[in-house]
C-alpha cells in the first residue's frame, strides 16, 4: 500500500501530523507551500534548479565552468523482459517489463526521467509502476500512443520522476493488435553522477516530494451505452457503435486530487472512407451533478471531440498509425502546446468525470482516450484538513 502521504515529512522523513505548518523536526516548509511552488512547473523543474553552467568567482573576477555540470548526463534506459530489448508480446497477452535503475559507482546514478518513448509493431496498452513512489502512473492500462512518443515528438511528462538506483520500475503491457507485437520502450532523462552531499540530499528530498505530485493518466473506468441501456467494457479501449450515445466515466482516485493538463485522443473508426473522426461529439460534466464544462445548446450533441476538446494524435516516424488496432497510429504525446493554452483544471479526488459521446459516424468507433496531468496528494479541504 502506498504510504499515507501527509503522514511524514518529505524532507526529513520523520512523522508529521500537520501538512499546513513547517515540519517540527527539520523546519521543512509546509507541504501546502511546496505544492504551490512546485505544481504545474516544467518537466525538469522537479529536481529544482538546473545545475548552473557558469560560475562567477568575484575573488578572481573570472568565470568558471561549473565542474558539477558535467556530472548530470543524458541517459536513455530501455524496457526489458528477461534482459531482452526489444521484446515480444504474444498476441492479446500481457507481459511485464522492467526499467532498470542501474547504479554507476556505489550508489551514484540517481535518474530523473522526463520523457517516455516507444515503438512497436502494433498497438498496445501500458500501465507503469514506480516502486520508489509506490505508485502506479495510471488508473489502468493506457493506450501507448497516449503515453509514449518518439524522438520526433517525445512523450514529455507533466513533471519529471526522480528515481534512486536499484529501484527498478516495471510496467504491464498488453497487446491490442491480436498479433505478436515487438515492443521497444525507451525512457529518457538524466543520470546524476554527483558526489556532493548537499546536492544528493537536495535531490533525494525532491524524490520524496514525488510522492505528493506525480504524472498520472486517467483512463475510462466505466462506460454505458445510453442508446441500448447496456454497459460496455471500458478497458483499455471502448467500442462506440454506429450512431450511439455513450457515457464514459473517468474516476479520479480517492486519495488525491487530479490536476488535468490535457485530454488526449487516438481514436479510430471502422469507416474506412473516413479516416479522421469528424463524427464524434462530446460533453463533459464534473461528476453526475457537477458543472458542465462544455457549454453548447441543449439540443445539440456538444462539440466535436477531436476538433475542440481532445488533442488528437499526429503521425510521426516509427509510431503505429492507422484505423485499426493491428495497424499503426500516431502520437501527439504531451509534446505540443495544450489546446487549453496551458490552463489546468483541478478535479477533486473521487470525482466521476463523465463524458457523453454522441457518434454520428456510420462506422464503429474505437475510443482511445485519457486525461493526462498530475496527481496531487495532500490534505483535503473538504475534510477540514486545509485552512
Amino acid at each position: 500500500m502506498p504510504p499515507n502521504a501527509p503522514a511524514f515529512c518529505p524532507f526529513c522523513g520523520k512523522p508529521r501530523s500537520n501538512d499546513m505548518r513547517p515540519c517540527p523536526s527539520c523546519a521543512g516548509p509546509s507541504l501546502r507551500t511546496v505544492l504551490s511552488e512546485q505544481g504545474g512547473r516544467d518537466a525538469v523543474s522537479f529536481f529544482g534548479d538546473d545545475v548552473p553552467t557558469l560560475l562567477y568567482d568575484d575573488v578572481n573576477n573570472a568565470y568558471y565552468v561549473n565542474p558539477e555540470k558535467s556530472k548530470a548526463k543524458w541517459a536513455w534506459q530501455t524496457g526489458q523482459v528477461s534482459n531482452q530489448f526489444p521484446f515480444t508480446i504474444t498476441a492479446n497477452q500481457t507481459r511485464r517489463f522492467q526499467v532498470k535503475m542501474n547504479p554507476d559507482v556505489g550508489l551514484r546514478g540517481d535518474i530523473e526521467t522526463c520523457s517516455f518513448m516507444l515503438t512497436s509493431t502494433g498497438r498496445l496498452a501500458v500501465q507503469p509502476f514506480v516502486p520508489l513512489l509506490d505508485k502506479y502512473l495510471s488508473n489502468g492500462l493506457v493506450p501507448s500512443s497516449l503515453m509514449f512518443g518518439t524522438a520526433q515528438l517525445q512523450g514529455l511528462l507533466a513533471q519529471t520522476i526522480y528515481s534512486i538506483p536499484s529501484f527498478d520500475w516495471w510496467a504491464d503491457a498488453q497487446d491490442l493488435s491480436a498479433a505478436d507485437n515487438t515492443v521497444s520502450p525507451v525512457f529518457f532523462g538524466r543520470r546524476l553522477m554527483d558526489n556532493g552531499q548537499d546536492r544528493i540530499q537536495e535531490a533525494r528530498r525532491a524524490a520524496g516530494m514525488s510522492r505528493f505530485v506525480h504524472p498520472f493518466w486517467l483512463v475510462p473506468t466505466t462506460a454505458f451505452n445510453n442508446t441500448t441501456n447496456v454497459g460496455i467494457n471500458p478497458n483499455p479501449t471502448i467500442s462506440i457503435p454506429t450512431l450511439a450515445n455513450v457515457t464514459v466515466t473517468y474516476t479520479v482516485p480517492s486519495d488525491a486530487d487530479f490536476e488535468c493538463w490535457y485530454i488526449l485522443d487516438d481514436s479510430s473508426t471502422s469507416n474506412g472512407a473516413n479516416t479522421e473522426i469528424n463524427d464524434l461529439f462530446a460533453r463533459i460534466k464534473e461528476g453526475p451533478s457537477g458543472a458542465d464544462l462544455v457549454l453548447a445548446p441543449g439540443g445539440s450533441n456538444g462539440l466535436a471531440w477531436r476538433s475542440f476538446i481532445a488533442s488528437p494524435t499526429v503521425p510521426v516516424t516509427g509510431f503505429p498509425s492507422g484505423g485499426t488496432n493491428s495497424a499503426t497510429g500516431g502520437i501527439r504525446a504531451a509534446s505540443l502546446p495544450s489546446p487549453a493554452g496551458g490552463f489546468t483544471h483541478l478535479f477533486k479526488r473521487g470525482t466521476d468525470i463523465q463524458v457523453t459521446f454522441v457518434s454520428t459516424d456510420t462506422g464503429t468507433i474505437t475510443l482511445r482516450s485519457a486525461f493526462v496531468g498530475l496527481l496531487v496528494y495532500g490534505g483535503d479541504p473538504a475534510k477540514g484538513e486545509c485552512q
Binding site: G40, D42, C114, A158, A334, A340, G342
Partner: protein, 391 residues
C-alpha cells in the same frame, strides 16, 4: 510560470532580457497619475529580416560542387551607432533552376566589432541549422550584436546541380536610441565571449571518410563517428539532429550508442546480455536524434529541433573541452545510408576549475557563487538552461 511543458513556446533566449513592455502604468503610489499608456519604446523594437548575399546579389548562384562565402552586415538605423540587432532565427533555401530543392551545407560566423565566433566546427547540412518560415531554425539562445556586425556563411553545394541560394537572419532591431544608448545593453553583446549556439558535425583527422556534412555508411556496417569538442570551450549538448537518408528510399534502419570519449560508459543503458538488436544500441531516429520533417522549400525536410517544442525535456549535457563525443552507428539494412548528423548545443567558454588560484569550496565559495549568479542574471548571462533552454 503557468503550465510548463504544455505552454512552452519555441523561442530563443533573449540576451536583451525580457521583452520590452507594451503597456506602462503610472502608479499613483509613486507619484503617477494612474493612467495606462502604450510604451513609446515598444514601437522602436522592430522585426527585421537580413539576407546574405554574394557580391551584393541574393539569391546567389552556387554552382555544382562549389563553395562560396555569403555575407551580410547589420545596418545602422538613424545614427551611426544605432540599430542593435538580436538574431533569433536562421533560414535558408536552395533550389535548382527547375525549382527542385537541393541540399547545401553552411558554416556561420559572427564578426562583431569586439569578437569573432564560428558557430560550427565545419560546414553542416543546412537542414540541421536553418529552417524556413514554416519551421524556422530557432536558436536556443539569441545572438545580440551591435550595428555593423557582419555575418558570413561558408556555403557548400551538396546537390550535384547548380543552385540558387538564399540565406537570412530574422530577429529584432532596436531602432530607437533609448536601448542602444544604454551601456548595459551594449555590454550584452559581449555574451559571445561566454557562450553562443554551436553545431558539431563529424570530424576525425584519421577518418577522412567519416568527416564532413555528409558521410556514407555502407550496408550492414558498424562504425564509430567522432564529434570533437573544441579545445577552448565546453559544449552544452541540447539535441542530436539527423537528416539521414537510405539509398533504398525508405526510413534508414540505424542504431546507435553514444559515449563521451572511447572509454566512458555509454549513455544508453542496454540489457546485460545482448540479445538481437539490443547489442547495436537503440534506434537512432526513433529514440535519440530529432529527425527532419517535410516542409516547403527543403529537400526531404528541415530539422524540427526547436521549432515546435523542446525535446529532451530541456535537459542539457555538458561535455568538457578538448574531448569528443563518439557515436557508434550500426546499419541493419542492405542499402548504403547517407548520414547527415550534427550535435546542437551551446559552446561555453570560461576557465576550467583546475585553473583556480583560490579555493571555491565551502561557504565562502557558495557566497561568491551566489553573487556570481546574481551578477550573471543582471547581465543576462545566467546559465543557458535557466534562460532558455527550451521554454
Amino acid at each position: 510560470m503557468i503550465g510548463g511543458a504544455a505552454v512552452r513556446r519555441p523561442r530563443p533566449i533573449s540576451i536583451f532580457g525580457g521583452d520590452v513592455p507594451t503597456v506602462l502604468y503610472s502608479d499613483p503610489a509613486r507619484g503617477g497619475d494612474g493612467t495606462v499608456r502604450i510604451n513609446p519604446d515598444k514601437s522602436t523594437v522592430q522585426w527585421r529580416w537580413i539576407s546574405a548575399s554574394v557580391n551584393g546579389i541574393t539569391p546567389f548562384a552556387l554552382p555544382s560542387g562549389a563553395t562560396l562565402k555569403a555575407s551580410l552586415t547589420v545596418p545602422t538605423t538613424g545614427g551611426s551607432d544605432e540599430g542593435d540587432f538580436e538574431t533569433a532565427v536562421l533560414m535558408s533555401r536552395a533550389i535548382t533552376g527547375a525549382g527542385a530543392t537541393g541540399r547545401i551545407a553552411i558554416q556561420p560566423r559572427v564578426n562583431s566589432p569586439t569578437i569573432n565566433r564560428i558557430l560550427a566546427n565545419d560546414v553542416i547540412c543546412h537542414n540541421l541549422i536553418a529552417g524556413t518560415s514554416q519551421l524556422p531554425g530557432v536558436l536556443p539562445q539569441a545572438i545580440y550584436s551591435l550595428p555593423k556586425t557582419s555575418w558570413d556563411f561558408v556555403t557548400e553545394n551538396l546537390a550535384g546541380a547548380d543552385l540558387n541560394v538564399q540565406l537570412a537572419l530574422h530577429g529584432r532591431q532596436f531602432t530607437g536610441c533609448s536601448p542602444c544608448a544604454d551601456p548595459v545593453y551594449r555590454a550584452r553583446a559581449e555574451h559571445l565571449r561566454w557562450f553562443h549556439p554551436y553545431w558539431i558535425g563529424p570530424q576525425d583527422a584519421s577518418q577522412a571518410d567519416y568527416t564532413g556534412p555528409e558521410v556514407t555508411l555502407a550496408a550492414n556496417r558498424s562504425t564509430n563517428i567522432t564529434f570533437p569538442i573544441p579545445s577552448d570551450a565546453d559544449f552544452l549538448m541540447l539535441a542530436l539532429l539527423d537528416d539521414s537518408t537510405s539509398a533504398g528510399g525508405g526510413e534508414p534502419s540505424l542504431y546507435a550508442q553514444v559515449t563521451e570519449n572511447a572509454t566512458s560508459r555509454g549513455l544508453v543503458d542496454l540489457p546485460n546480455t545482448n540479445v538481437g538488436a539490443s547489442s547495436l544500441g537503440i534506434s537512432w531516429r526513433d529514440f535519440m536524434a530529432i529527425p527532419t520533417v517535410s516542409v516547403t522549400g527543403f529537400p526531404g525536410g528541415v530539422v524540427r529541433a526547436w521549432s515546435f517544442a523542446p525535446n529532451n525535456g530541456g535537459i542539457a549535457h555538458l561535455v568538457p573541452r578538448n574531448t569528443q563525443i563518439i557515436i557508434r552507428f550500426t546499419s541493419t539494412e542492405a542499402n548504403a545510408i547517407t548520414l547527415r548528423v550534427a550535435i546542437f548545443g551551446i559552446l561555453v567558454y570560461g576557465r576550467q576549475p583546475e585553473d583556480r588560484t583560490t579555493s571555491m569550496d565551502g561557504r565562502g565559495n557558495r557566497e561568491r557563487v551566489e553573487q556570481g549568479e546574481e551578477f550573471l542574471r543582471r547581465m543576462g548571462l545566467t546559465s543557458a538552461f535557466k534562460q532558455g533552454g527550451p521554454q
